[in-house]
């Protein structure tokens, strides 16, 4: 009896396990943002001239914009001048050439996070690009990828090595003036991943990026650009963590995916930024713009996300289905506990003929959190035979949380078929009782039911991510059931 009480105590007292701080020597800009800061940042990165112009243009536009306030979110005002826009582990002037040259403390951090940075120890077939605060630290498996013709490198490196390729695609899916946070990102993004899969290549392994905010008072602005050329295929994973701090930290990323004819991109995210404590102190503001453009016919993009962290999540991975017969998919599990707020969903813009999209969204709210699904399905005039199926389910755990569903459906094409379904319910006493009657503890039963609830999304995740996601889900909900 006492041992089980102890167990529950432990579970309730569970702390954010990625919440450690790594003591490193870092280069950090003083807080503040103006054109000089951007110029300095661009200079440090050794970027080509057009990038600086791009950044300054975005910055000037950003200054004229207002923060969006339409989301169902309660955001403490952000002081953009109090944020430092660049922070990087100090190192020799040259980038590390191999893992031996990387700060051992950093390697230790990644080991704690369980990232397979070390090639010998990593899980088979995952190439990792790790972004620590503002710079990309190491990219593994570069050689093998190069043989296949795949470019997978930090975007800062891509800007130096393949400037024309970056220039051709950067900002074409999410223009620099798209929205407030996208404009800010375009002005100050520090690093991120760049992926180019050439024609007809099936990427030999899954690509993966880990993001971590380490330094205090810094924002993380990373930019991911993935181009899948004709007939190519890639699966890309992304994970994020941050230390526990009392202040809110801003993370404003932009992800752009471009798909040519017959290309396929599978983009999976496990987002576990620090969510703040049970009273809503601290935590990451996760304001992300993600968009995929299916430019070619028969292309397919699939977003899978598991959102467990962040104090506030504001994120709508979208698919612009331009090419005929292109397919967009969105699978999402968003878990909020304590004082977390999530306003997330997707946009499916059907433009090409016979385009299809599927949206499966599972929201779980516990504690005093607010969890909102907000989505748009738009079928343009030319999108004959477009098809959409949307299912949004919300599960309420506890009587002080909120679950909201705000879908928008706009159809201008009679041959389109659009379906939207949403339900909201709680875990029923009957289900719990049934499990408990068969000797399963209440906590396990809840976890089992919740996992079942999310199964249709988890099965879309790559194997090792699915395991992590399930574990995360368990942790996030701990202590929410009495």
């Amino acid at each position: 009896m006492s041992s089980s009480a102890q167990e529950i105590e432990n579970l309730i007292g569970h702390k954010y396990k990625e919440g450690f701080v790594t003591e490193l020597e870092v280069d950090t800009f003083p807080p503040g943002l103006d054109e000089q800061v951007i110029a300095k940042l661009s200079a440090i990165k050794g970027e080509p001239e057009f990038m600086l112009e791009y950044r300054l243009k975005a910055f000037r536009h950003w200054q004229t914009m207002k923060e969006p306030n339409w989301a169902q979110l309660n955001i403490e005002p952000i002081d953009y001048q109090a944020i430092s826009y660049y922070s990087a582990p100090k190192k020799d002037s040259d980038k590390p050439q191999s893992l031996d040259e990387i700060d051992p403390e950093l390697l230790e951090t990644y080991k704690k996070l369980g990232i397979p940075l070390d090639e010998q120890e990593r899980l088979a077939g995952v190439a990792v690009d790790a972004v620590f605060d503002s710079v990309s630290v190491a990219t593994t498996f570069k050689g093998k990828l190069k043989d296949a013709g795949v470019i997978f490198c930090p975007i800062s490196e891509a800007l130096q090595e393949y400037p024309e390729l970056v220039r051709q695609y950067l900002g074409t899916v999410v223009p620099s003036g798209d929205n407030f946070f996208a404009a800010l990102n375009a002005a100050v993004f520090t690093d991120g991943s760049f992926v180019y899969i050439p024609k007809g290549v099936r990427c030999p392994m899954e690509l993966s990026t880990y993001f971590r905010i380490n330094a205090a008072n810094t924002g993380q602005f990373e930019r991911t650009l993935i181009i899948a050329d004709e007939g190519s295929h890639v699966s890309y994973l992304e994970g994020c963590t941050a230390p526990m701090r009392d202040e809110n930290q801003l993370h404003a990323a932009v992800v752009e995916l471009i798909l040519m004819d017959d290309a396929e991109i599978k983009y999976s995210t496990v987002q576990n930024w620090y969510p703040g404590d049970e009273n809503g102190v601290g935590g990451i503001y996760n304001f992300v713009t993600k968009r995929a453009e299916c430019r070619g016919a028969n292309s397919k993009v699939s977003w899978t996300q598991v959102e467990t962290g962040s104090a506030i999540t504001w994120k709508y991975p979208s698919c612009v289905l331009l090419g005929d017969n292109s397919v967009g998919e969105f699978y999402s599990v968003a878990v909020t506990n304590n004082m977390q707020q999530a306003d997330t969903g997707t946009k499916m813009i059907h433009i090409g003929k016979n385009t299809r999209s599927t949206i499966i969204s599972k929201g779980i709210s516990a504690g005093r959190s607010q969890n909102t699904y907000r989505g748009l399905v738009k079928v343009g005039k030319g999108a004959t035979n477009a098809r959409n199926y949307t299912q949004c389910d919300s599960l309420l755990v506890g009587d002080q949380c909120g679950a909201h569903t705000f879908p928008y459906v706009e159809v201008k094409q009679p041959s389109a078929q659009v379906e939207h379904e949403a339900t909201t319910s709680k875990i029923s006493e009957d289900q719990l009782f049934f499990c408990q009657q068969r000797g399963i503890s209440a906590e396990d039963a809840v976890s089992m039911i919740v996992n079942g609830f999310c199964k249709s999304v988890f099965k879309e995740l790559p194997m090792e991510f699915a395991v992590e996601a399930q574990a995360l889900l368990g942790l996030s909900l701990e202590g929410s059931v009495g």
């Binding site: 009587d399 002080q400 949380c401 909120g402 705000f406 078929q417 949403a422 709680k426």
Partner: protein, 441 residues
């Protein structure tokens, strides 16, 4: 031009009728009107930038500047011309160009303790009773139409049913607009005391020219009261229509609404209800759009107390260049446990230029609830058409049958036989497909 002038030219236009409006001597109403004038002068009619109006552009009403009809300008109508809209087995009230017409109305035999009178008469005879209900279900801050209506309503109807009264016959309210360029601006109040029961039919008709009809109805249902409200909107094809129904439901009360939106160039319905403990509401709607019609249905159901039930089903058939909008919001407050809510919106698009925009919303703050919503936009099922064809029904007839069946589900819910036939006739007459065969009906 000052800022106010840019926002709206209506306040200047309506200043001239301010002295002729009913209820001049009543202090609370004067205050309310004054506030509303200010509210409207500052904000004007709603714009597309407002979330609740993002699909409906009412700037044409602003541009056209519809003028109020003073009581001396009311068009003359013969009762015979209205018979086709009137239910014979009912008490009826006719409002012409926004003013109560005693000669056209038929209220004989209504129980004496039940109050059915024009708003202007009610403001003279029972202002104290009215104050209990006026502007209680909706506030001028809601949006420009409410502010406008509160500021300048010319007349309307007041129905008060005392406790435990069950009316044997329905009451029909017929709104008629006779002249081009007029704006009929009416305010109706329906108040049911404990366990009272009544059926009300609201009908809107008008001339073939451009006019505007803006009617706001406030409903107050006391404990265990029961109101069935039918609304049949058959405005002229160049007309602008705004109809707002705002309901406050006390515990155990029931509100059933059937909304048929057939007419008007631009029509918007607001149906908002606040649900008390264990109360029920059932909202049904059918909208039929042809040519360039724009029909917007906006519903909001606020579950404020536990154990309440809400059901909602809206169906739309859109043809040619018509645009149908559905915005439905269900809010479940923290204490509203055991809420049961179901919302459905089905749209049938019949032509390449038709458009359906739909926005169902669930906003839930309680945990022990059962809430769902569903939306579909699509066309007729090819397999069903094929099935009928395989049974020797030609393709066009098959399509007609299926479209009719889709819409008829809502008509079949009508419990008044006379009204049922009237709506059915309207449906067939306005049916988007030409040559509908009636022998299979």
């Amino acid at each position: 031009m000052s800022a106010e002038q840019i926002i709206s030219q209506y306040p200047a236009e309506y200043k001239k009728i301010a002295d002729a409006l009913p209820g001049q001597s009543i202090a609370w109403l004067a205050l309310l009107r004054q506030d509303s004038v200010q509210q409207f002068s500052a904000h004007g009619f709603p714009s597309l930038r407002e979330e609740e109006w993002r699909y409906t552009n009412v700037s044409a009403i602003e541009k056209k500047l519809f003028s109020p009809a003073s009581s001396s300008e009311i068009g003359a109508i013969e009762i015979d011309s209205l018979n086709q809209y009137l239910i014979q087995d009912a008490w009826s009230v006719v409002l012409v160009d926004g003013h109560f017409s005693a000669s056209l109305s038929k209220l004989d035999g209504i129980p004496e303790i039940v109050t059915v009178m024009s708003m202007s008469a009610a403001l003279e005879q029972c202002a104290d009773l009215l104050e209990k209900y006026f502007s209680q279900s909706v506030d001028s801050k809601e949006h420009g139409f409410v502010a406008f209506n509160t500021a300048w309503f010319s007349d309307g109807l007041f129905i008060h049913v005392p406790a435990k009264q069950v009316l044997a016959k329905p009451i029909q309210i017929l709104h008629v607009v006779t002249q081009a360029g007029f704006m009929a601006n009416t305010r109706d109040i329906i108040a049911l005391e404990e366990s009272a029961e009544v059926t009300v039919v609201e009908t809107f008709v008008g001339c073939d020219e451009a006019y505007c009809s803006a009617a706001i109805m406030e409903v107050s249902l006391a404990q265990n009261a029961d109101l069935t409200l039918y609304k049949l909107q058959m405005e002229g094809e160049k007309a602008y229509h705004f109809g707002g129904i705002y309901v406050k439901q006390d515990r155990d009360s029931r509100f059933t609404h059937h909304n048929f939106a057939f007419g008007g160039l631009l029509a918007r319905n607001d149906i908002h209800t606040d649900l008390g403990q264990a109360s029920e509401c059932d909202l049904n709607g059918l909208y039929l759009g042809v040519k360039r019609q724009h029909i917007d249905n906006h519903t909001r159901i606020n579950h404020l107390q536990p154990h309440a039930i809400s059901h909602e089903l809206y169906k739309g058939v859109l043809n040619q260049r018509a645009k149908g909008v559905f915005q439905g919001r269900v809010l479940v407050a923290e204490q509203a446990q055991k809420t049961d809510s179901m919302m459905n919106n089905r749209n049938l698009l019949l032509s390449d230029d038709a458009e359906a925009d739909t926005k169902p919303q669930l906003e839930i703050y309680a945990d022990d609830v059962k809430c769902a919503h569903g939306v579909t936009v699509g066309q007729l099922d090819e397999q069903s058409i094929f099935y009928l064809q395989s049974r020797c029904v030609d393709k066009q007839t098959a399509r007609n049958m299926l479209t009719f069946a889709f819409a008829n589900e809502m008509v079949e819910k009508i419990k008044l036989p006379e009204l049922h036939d009237m709506v059915l006739a309207q449906l067939l007459q306005r049916f988007p497909q030409a040559g509908i065969q009636q022998d299979w009906l």
